[in-house]
């Protein structure tokens, strides 16, 4: 029976490359995306497209704040989410490091020289906050896309990342439905599945992935996953200390439903606010029970057929 409370299987070792058969694999590499310093510049989106030759995703205004990318798709391997929330900025004045404005001015409804909230008068304070977050493929420890791929096009690299081989993929689309984050996608005019490779070509040559290289605020950090986890824990502690209690990590826990993410995040609100699932689970976690249920049904089928022939004369 479906019992979503219990953990289906013990999480696999935190070293998926070795589990996949790599010998003497290098340390697992990943991304730590610290959204508390993201400025929403989208340099990561552009750098990714440039380096990986990802085609345009069309030009349109979505009307979703400053997000006209919309989602991670086959043609957008980084996606900067913009969330506008009608609530006061979470940082108390004590935390602000900026200097007080030298002259107090009445707010006249005109753009000021100082940032909103620093005009000195309550009227000028903003009543909303902006959350920005550069989303990317999570390179799960237990990757649904990789598990269900029937051609072997998806594979685990020596760095513990998950990559599609475009010369193998035949566009069956199973990975698209198997991803609990809705990341991997089939390109409409091409027919194959595409997603972030964590710049397999660059990291193989000891370089930094294009998005992390381009990030001007080090919101996107690349490195060995162990190191990134330590850094992230320290960053959360620092933010909590500075009066940002809502700071939390997402995807860092090797005990979660996907065995931990190779690309994890520091968020300032619940995951679903950013379009992330609150408790993702790899679909294959239940696969053994699924096959058993199918086996019972198959036996019922055979029994039904036997009964149909033995159950009467005509």
């Amino acid at each position: 029976m479906a019992d979503p409370v219990s953990r289906p299987d013990p999480p696999v070792a935190d070293d998926p490359a070795t589990a996949a058969g790599w010998v003497d694999a290098p340390p697992r590499m990943g991304f730590f995306t610290d959204t508390s310093v993201c400025i929403g510049c989208k340099a990561c989106e552009v750098a990714c497209k440039e380096w990986n030759g990802v085609p345009t995703s069309g030009l349109d205004l979505l009307g979703m704040s400053y997000d006209n990318t919309g989602a991670l798709t086959a043609n957008s391997w980084r996606h900067v989410a913009f969330v506008e929330q009608p609530r006061p900025a979470g940082h108390p004045p004590a935390a602000s490091t900026g200097a007080e404005p030298t002259a107090r001015t009445e707010f006249l409804g005109m753009p000021g020289a100082a940032p909103p909230g620093r005009t000195g008068s309550a009227d000028g304070r903003s009543d909303f906050r902006w959350l920005m977050m550069s989303d990317v493929c999570k390179h799960c420890t237990r990757a649904g896309c990789l598990d269900v791929c029937p051609t072997g096009a998806l594979f685990r690299t020596e760095f513990g990342t998950v990559v599609v081989q475009e010369d193998i993929c035949n566009g069956c689309g199973y990975c698209v439905s198997a991803c609990p984050y809705g990341v991997i996608d089939r390109r409409a005019d091409d027919g194959r599945a595409w997603k972030c490779t964590l710049c397999y070509d660059r990291i193989g040559a000891g370089m930094t992935p294009a998005c992390a290289q381009a990030c001007p605020t080090e919101s996107i950090q690349y490195g060995p996953l162990d190191e990134l986890r330590d850094r992230a824990a320290a960053r959360v502690a620092a933010l909590h200390e500075r009066g940002v209690p809502e700071a939390r990590l997402y995807g860092h826990d090797p005990a979660d439903g996907v065995g931990g993410d190779g690309a994890f995040f520091l968020l300032l609100d619940e995951p679903e606010v950013y379009g992330l699932p609150p408790d993702p689970q790899v679909p294959t976690a239940d696969l053994g029970r699924m096959w058993r249920r199918a086996g019972v049904a198959a036996l019922a089928m055979a029994a039904g057929a036997v009964a149909a022939f033995l159950g009467g004369r005509r």
Partner: protein
Amino acid sequence: MSPRPPAEDEPHRPSTDDRPPAGHGPRAPGEDESRRPVGERFRRFRDGVSSGANESGVTPAAGRRRRRAGEELAVPPAEFTSYYGRPILKPPVWTWEIAAYLFTGGLAAGSSLLAVGGQLTGRPALRRAGRVTALAAVTASGVLLVKDLGRPERFHHMLRVAKPTSPMSVGTWILTAYGPAAGLAAIAEVAPLLPDRGPWRPVRRVLPPVGWAAGVAAAAVAPALGTYTAVLLSDTAVPSWHDAYPDLPLVFAGSALASGAGAALIAVPPRQAGPARRLAVAGAALELFGAHRVETRHGLLAEPYRTGRPGRLLRAGRALTAAGVVGALLGARSRVVSALSGAALLAASVATRFGVFHAGVASARDPRYTVLPQRERLQRRQAGEQDG
């Protein structure tokens, strides 16, 4: 046509009036405007019809889907937040071919079981009908499956690997075992039509035993063919498919038996169709039992099976199944009534498969079905951790 209203439970949605004027972005004025109105893509996103995440192409069926989607709002909105109401998951990129394959695969499996029964109990008409239906259905299955690929010419890449973690890979090998056996069994039926002299004579002699063995082999694989498709759907992140994994195999097994029986009721004279009638009853019972569990045991995630187009399809399937079974039992002496009952059972199977398919797609399109059950799971786990 009434576009789906924005989700009210979403606190920070910018209204369309607040949008920055066109040209605010890095877009040259006038460019592209004649072809596509500004914000059209957003409205498509908002309406939850970013069908197959086909984000640059125009979806021909979008208008139709949009109208239908409105009906699914009949449920009370539950509290949850999302990113501008956008889906978290990608809806399946599979199109009608896969839903149709669920039917043809099941039909082939049910037919092979009837054929082997006819073969072993001396009902030649039943055997012949079962074998021919199975070959036709498995051929259609192959065509549908290849057609649904993004790169159909690479269909044989499925044969590079055998992966137990991928139900599609397992299914590939089930079909690879089943297809040739079902084909051979059907080809063996031409033996009586061959001349009994000359070069065809040995072929005519050898075909029946070959067909006998092939028929048994096909029937041995048939139950796997009829049920693995349930695992194929369940082993995804699609909320309503995944959650229904304990019950979907029953639905698919029953539907396979009932459709196989339906085809036999059409093709076989009533004198030899007794097993088909009994199989129709058994299949219908299994299917209705499974469908009842799917629709009642999965809380919020059962909702897509009961509402909108999938709900209508599944209700139609249930009504047709009932009509088919009643007709098969009461019209046992009439060829016409039997054939009509068979047609009803086939139509019931089609409706059920498309209903299940579209219920899953609907559950992936609405972030509510992703967020709320996961929140509930988190809360239960946290409560359990506090207790323990």
